[in-house]
């Protein structure tokens, strides 16, 4: 078992939310090609569905774009009706990418230098 460190997804990737009706899509794009396999392995449809469980998605679908080291998640019925009916301040769900980007991810220690953000502490 390799040594791993748990970090938030935003250390590995950036992303953006889009919406159409009651459907949200969230892109997740690796900062660095070396981090891509970790995203593919850990950022599964199941993990994302669990992350958004309180929004009761009817389906979560993942599309992989290896040439871009990017993936696209499509979540149905997570917007409480979207701009038609939702009572949320953010009826488009534009903030949702940042909920996903806070998901804990396990990263092998040898990949820590490739993470975005502050350098890991020595401890």
């Amino acid at each position: 078992m390799k040594d791993t460190v748990q970090v938030p997804l935003y250390r590995l990737a950036h992303g953006r939310t889009g919406d159409k009706g009651d459907r949200s899509n969230i892109s997740v794009i690796a900062w660095n090609p070396t981090l891509w396999p970790i995203l593919v392995e850990q950022l599964t449809e199941g993990a994302v569905a669990e992350r958004f469980a309180h929004r009761r998605p009817s389906t979560v679908k993942r599309y992989l774009l290896p040439e871009l080291q990017a993936m696209n998640f499509v979540l149905d019925h997570v917007l409480d009706g979207g701009v038609n009916d939702a009572l949320n301040l953010d009826t488009h769900g534009k903030s949702l990418a940042f909920w996903l980007l806070d998901l804990p991810v396990n990263v092998p220690v040898e990949l820590l230098p490739h993470l975005a953000g502050p350098a890991p502490s020595a401890s």
């Binding site: 953006r16 889009g18 892109s27 309180h54 871009l68 696209n72 009572l87 909920w99």
Partner: protein, 457 residues
């Protein structure tokens, strides 16, 4: 080859939504003029419900119904565009393209310019009684049980291309697919066959990258410490250099803020995309499976590898209908026990508004945007010690007077609620609902009409 290759086509974006900055176009027009080559300026100003708002405006005033900022957007650039031969293509006609065309003519006269050759695109508006049977059939079970406000088909690029080939300097559309604003000029410039799916798909994705304005040049991207963007306050809007194969380089005017790099382009490439192998537009089914994004230099990113498949047989139609009232109220608490006082205020509202309908509560500063309308998220947050909290409550109701009870109860918290509540704001607004359906392409013919100088078609 006997003939020399066609010069590169540049398409600049001057707006990405209704309400976008009206000073964005200036630097883009300057850059296009400096390039000296054929170029087009596009304004994309129609979100999903903008057209319904425009229809409502036109009911109030028969001369209204087009983009309210039209004048402010065009005034600074109309003269320079006409002088440099930069054509303008936009959906800012909204619910009244002919009205927008007339307004542009009078703007030109007021500015002492020659009156430009303007074409309007027709055929998208399906809100008249003649189209009702088609709409009802297509909507099926999605038929709204409320008065229809607007119904528009997403038209493609062909009529835009036709208008440009016929010599239009300005093309005013209502609902067309956003990328078609770019595909139309590319079709007209390069003369691609209407079934040249790969090239049309590439131009479509160029249009997709342009259609939200600054979202590809560093807008909607900055995240301090992770994604730093220089001089975001003066972000430059994008320009696509589209080559004869449809591939494009995304760049922005020199001297503007923002940035174009592989990250900004990837984020926008996937924005509002569902299956990347099948991005549907009226013009083509674009396939991003093998798309590549490569930085060629500072603020220059190359998009290649997009493929195309035959266009859909049906066009998407968005129908908007009246959808009751949205009532909202907010009040703030600060200092010791602020969160406890805000939670008490929520309890009071729950009791006072019981039976009115589903209420949504937010504790802004504690739990709001990520939460759900049913309150599962908020209920899962244990009471804390937040010292600056804004309580928000919201409700949908079919009846205006019933909805208004919420705004009155929030206001009453001033004297009847917990201690120290301040900053009450309330609003009561009509809501619009949307329903989408597909109609056969043949049922919605698009056409362009050249507008004569007097203003009549």
């Amino acid at each position: 080859m006997a003939s020399s290759p066609l010069p590169l086509l540049r398409v600049g974006s001057a707006a990405g939504f209704s309400g976008d900055r009206v000073d964005a176009a200036g630097p883009v027009v300057q850059a296009l003029a400096d390039s000296g080559g054929p170029s087009v300026l596009i304004f994309e100003t129609l979100a999903e419900r903008t057209l319904a708002l425009a229809q409502l405006a036109r009911r109030q005033d028969p001369n209204a119904g087009y983009e309210p900022l039209l004048d402010l957007m065009l005034r600074p650039v109309l003269g320079p565009c006409l002088e440099a031969g930069i054509r303008i293509v936009s959906n800012f006609g909204a619910a009244h393209p002919m009205g927008a065309a007339r307004r542009i003519q009078s703007l030109a006269r007021a500015l002492g310019l020659r009156v430009p050759r303007i074409a309007v695109i027709e055929g998208d508006d399906l809100s008249d009684p003649a189209h009702l049977p088609l709409l009802m059939r297509a909507l099926g079970e999605a038929i709204p049980h409320a008065p229809l406000v607007s119904a528009n088909a997403y038209l493609g690029a062909e009529a835009i291309a036709g208008a440009l080939r016929a010599g239009a300097e300005i093309v005013v559309a209502g609902r067309v697919a956003d990328p078609s604003l770019t595909v139309g000029p590319a079709l007209a410039h390069y003369g691609w066959a209407s079934d040249d799916w790969d090239r049309i798909a590439r131009a479509t994705m160029a249009g997709h990258l342009l259609e939200c304005g600054a979202q590809v040049t560093g807008g909607y991207f900055a995240d301090p410490g992770y994604k730093d963007v220089p001089d975001l306050a003066h972000v430059g809007y994008p320009i696509a250099e589209i080559d004869a194969n449809g591939d494009c380089v995304i760049t922005k005017p020199a001297g503007t803020g923002g940035c174009v790099d592989e990250r900004t382009v990837k984020e926008q490439l996937l924005y509002e995309v569902h299956d990347p192998a099948a991005y549907l537009t009226p013009d083509v089914v674009a396939d991003l499976t093998h798309a590549r994004v490569d930085a060629l230099g500072p603020d220059r990113v190359w998009l290649t590898g997009v493929r195309g498949h035959p266009r859909p047989t049906h066009l998407k139609v968005n129908a908007c209908f009246e959808n009751g009232w949205l009532a909202e109220g907010e009040i703030s608490y600060a200092g010791p026990r602020a969160e406890a006082r805000a939670r008490l205020a929520a309890d009071i509202l729950r009791q006072r508004l019981a039976g009115l309908g589903a209420l949504r509560f937010d504790l802004i500063g504690v739990a709001s945007l990520f939460a759900d309308d049913d309150g599962r998220w908020l209920a899962a947050q244990p009471p804390g010690e937040a010292r600056d909290v804004r309580l928000r409550v919201a409700l949908n109701h079919a009846d205006r007077r019933a909805a208004d009870a919420l705004t009155r109860e929030v206001t009453a918290l001033y004297t009847c609620g917990p201690a120290g509540g301040g900053g009450v704001r309330t609003s009561l607004r009509p809501r619009l609902g949307t329903a989408s359906c597909l109609v056969p392409r043949e049922a919605v013919p698009a056409r362009f009409v050249m507008v004569d100088e007097g203003g009549a078609a």
